[in-house]
Subunit: 438 residues, 2 copies
């Protein structure tokens, strides 16, 4: 890895430095995913069974994990792991509960006109939990806890099984803990199709959540773009971190944080911005050292090829660059990190100071780890209880209220050429004995 | 129009009754829109100028409405209209301000672990205001006011001009009042492309808002599905209302409310549910009467062909049907409307009682009129200040905090097979002199 001097770059080179790794979502993938979606929509459970055989190499009698397997899952886990899951769940619950919207007391916008909002849970939500090399039990916590706090009635989990048709017991234990009783052994684009359209066995969901590979995220985008399709939590891309470090930061910690992001996948991206060339040089040395005995070193090294070590003229400039990049995770490895918080405008989640390892946010500080990637933090927020709710506005209007604001509405309706709108007011005013203009 | 007895329908017939009018978004439209998007992306302002000539029949020197035109717009309006716009703006501001999220005070999830959230405005937002037969100044209020309250720095309006290249002065006056200084005379899919990609003259936006015809809404869906594309407010469809009326309701008011929705466009949908056959019969008579001298009667009659008068066994059933349909607007023309509010689970905005004409919400009760249609109310909320903001989570962790929650994170990371994650914690614990397991 080499150090790039930001001040020496022209605007085009700066753009290149902040570009995300190329997306895998090409036209071929789009077509393949569209084909899976259409097939599941048409053929339902049979198609899902076929894809399971083809992609996961598994033949299932029933998609749903048997209740017995859910119940015994805990007994297959060590005490330490179970306690860690419970502790994490407790802190995630505490933070998500504290950030829940409080219903608004009524606002009287005019005499006799009361406006308010209702918070209502989304009825049916589908939670996708990736499988693959490891069971992502933390994703179960991050989706299951806010869904339960929101009060969603129908909470469905889809996750790919292993070749024996099994789902990791740690994942099942976590699901039970979050009150997620229905776990379906379905992965990939066919899982998204199942939850988007519903089948004989899988209920149709109003909103889909969760990370996934290119197939899953492409499928989510496609079903969300269909007329009447489900909503999705956010567009998803590979995980990423941007670190801003000053001369007082600890290079070993910085390297460890960069590697913890880089091991996610070959398309993960890590950026380190510092005004200290010494720190950048030390981090290069530390990366080499720490990579040596890392189990996923091969993945991390591929990812580091997408990565940047940028020498900044000062921390102010680093903040500007960070806001432009809009990282999923932002680590402020600065001496007075809180002083810089007012300068953060675009990021998914922020980690303050040397002890706030990004990993803590992945698992158990309490914040959510389902966060906007690929620059989506410019317009999207991470998952919260609000992601599982809707706001409904309500207005109640008395006779007096109508007299107060009705003429205003009629005037504006006529300015827009909508006479029937105006008359819906006039007719009510006339009923009250008010003379109307038109 | 005929009255349909809900109790006599089988499940398939009930589905049909609640089906939306067929969407115009066919494959041909999808292709045409994709072509416009690609052309604008490639050719920028030149392409927009070409489409303006072709679709709007107008040749413009500059897209932006001159500041002089903005300044004199007010002098071209009557005093009553200006006052109505100001009054509406006042009430919309009051309600939207009251429903703004308050920043969360820090939550200590463990000793030394503090989590909080920041609210940040989306930097660049694009507001689409439809043109056509009438200037939709109310849409300017409904988008411009929350965008300003949220604190969005760059607020851009696109709206189609007339054949002389002019934008209605009422719309310009309203834009100025909302602090929207940059109004571009661009309509259709090319306006969405301009704001999504940016051109030499139009700034690129992070999120796009506003209603529009099939071209505009298709373009919004397409740019939102692109990797790195802007967010959009919500999927949009034709306007709709569902009314639940009991025997005490006023048939003339009901008919007026149905017609005010029906005049929006031939694909608008109106549903009236009542447990009183007398009311339904009276409404049919009233509709005929009120249609006679309505300027947009032709449109309203087309729309009424999509519409339903449904006799319900009781109001409880009507509430269930309403939640299943998830209407944009829900009018509860009931004797004790507030008593039924707890049964409302899916709707965009609710109107309580005989005097709460839906038209009041369109213009000036204070609530927002940009609302989810076509059943999207199952998963989406209407526009609010929150639509123009993001939530960023923040965690600060002390040395003690790391000792408290670090081991939990390391345990979970290892359960997920992510060793570099675990080591980012272990390295910090070791630095504090804590012995680590692995």
């Amino acid at each position: 890895m080499n150090i790039v001097d930001w001040a020496a770059l022209d605007p085009g080179e700066r753009d290149t430095m902040l570009r995300r790794p190329p997306s895998q979502r090409d036209a071929g993938l789009q077509r393949d995913v569209a084909d899976i979606l259409a097939t599941v929509r048409r053929e339902g459970d049979g198609a899902i069974r076929d894809y399971g055989r083809r992609f996961d190499g598994v033949e299932l009698d029933a998609f749903e994990v048997p209740q017995a397997a859910m119940l015994v899952a805990g007994s297959e886990l060590g005490r330490e792991l179970k306690q860690a899951i419970r502790d994490a769940a407790g802190r995630i619950t505490a933070f998500h509960e504290a950030t829940m919207a409080t219903p608004l007391a009524s606002v009287e916008t005019a005499a006799g006109v009361h406006c308010e909002t209702l918070n209502r849970a989304i009825d049916g939500v589908g939670l996708y939990v990736p499988g693959g090399s490891a069971p992502l039990l933390s994703t179960v916590l991050m989706l299951g806890i806010p869904a339960a706090l929101a009060g969603c009635r129908q909470r469905v989990v889809c996750t790919p099984p292993d070749r024996e048709g099994r789902v990791d017991p740690a994942l099942l234990f976590t699901a039970s803990l979050c009150g997620l009783d229905r776990v379906y052994r379905i992965g990939g684009a066919q899982a998204i199709a199942a939850m988007a359209y519903g089948t004989a066995t899988i209920p149709r969901c109003d909103k889909l959540f969760g990370p996934g590979n290119a197939w899953v995220t492409t499928a989510k985008q496609q079903v969300a773009a269909e007329p009447g399709g489900p909503a999705i939590d956010m567009p998803a891309g590979p995980s990423e971190v941007l670190v801003i470090a000053d001369d007082g930061a600890n290079p070993a910690f910085l390297a460890a944080d960069l590697l913890s992001q880089a091991e996610h996948g070959p398309d993960s991206q890590v950026l380190l911005l510092s005004d200290s060339v010494r720190i950048l040089q030390c981090v290069i040395g530390e990366l080499e050292l720490q990579l040596r005995d890392l189990p996923r070193a091969a993945i991390a090294m591929q990812s580091l090829a997408n990565s940047r070590l940028l020498l900044m003229p000062d921390i102010d400039t680093a903040m500007v660059v960070s806001n432009r990049y809009a990282p999923e995770h932002l680590i402020l490895a600065l001496r007075e990190p809180r002083r810089w918080l007012p300068s953060v405008f675009a990021a998914g989640s922020v980690f303050l100071g040397d002890w706030a390892a990004e990993v803590l946010g992945d698992y158990c500080s309490g914040t959510n780890h389902v966060l906007p990637t690929a620059g989506a933090a410019r317009a999207w927020s991470g998952v919260s209880v609000a992601s599982f709710q809707r706001r409904i506005s309500v207005q109640s209007v008395s006779e007096q209220g109508l007299r107060r604001i009705g003429p205003c509405a009629a005037t504006l309706a006529r300015a827009e050429g909508l006479e029937a709108h105006a008359r819906a007011v006039d007719r009510r005013l006339q009923r009250q004995g008010v003379e109307v203009a038109a």
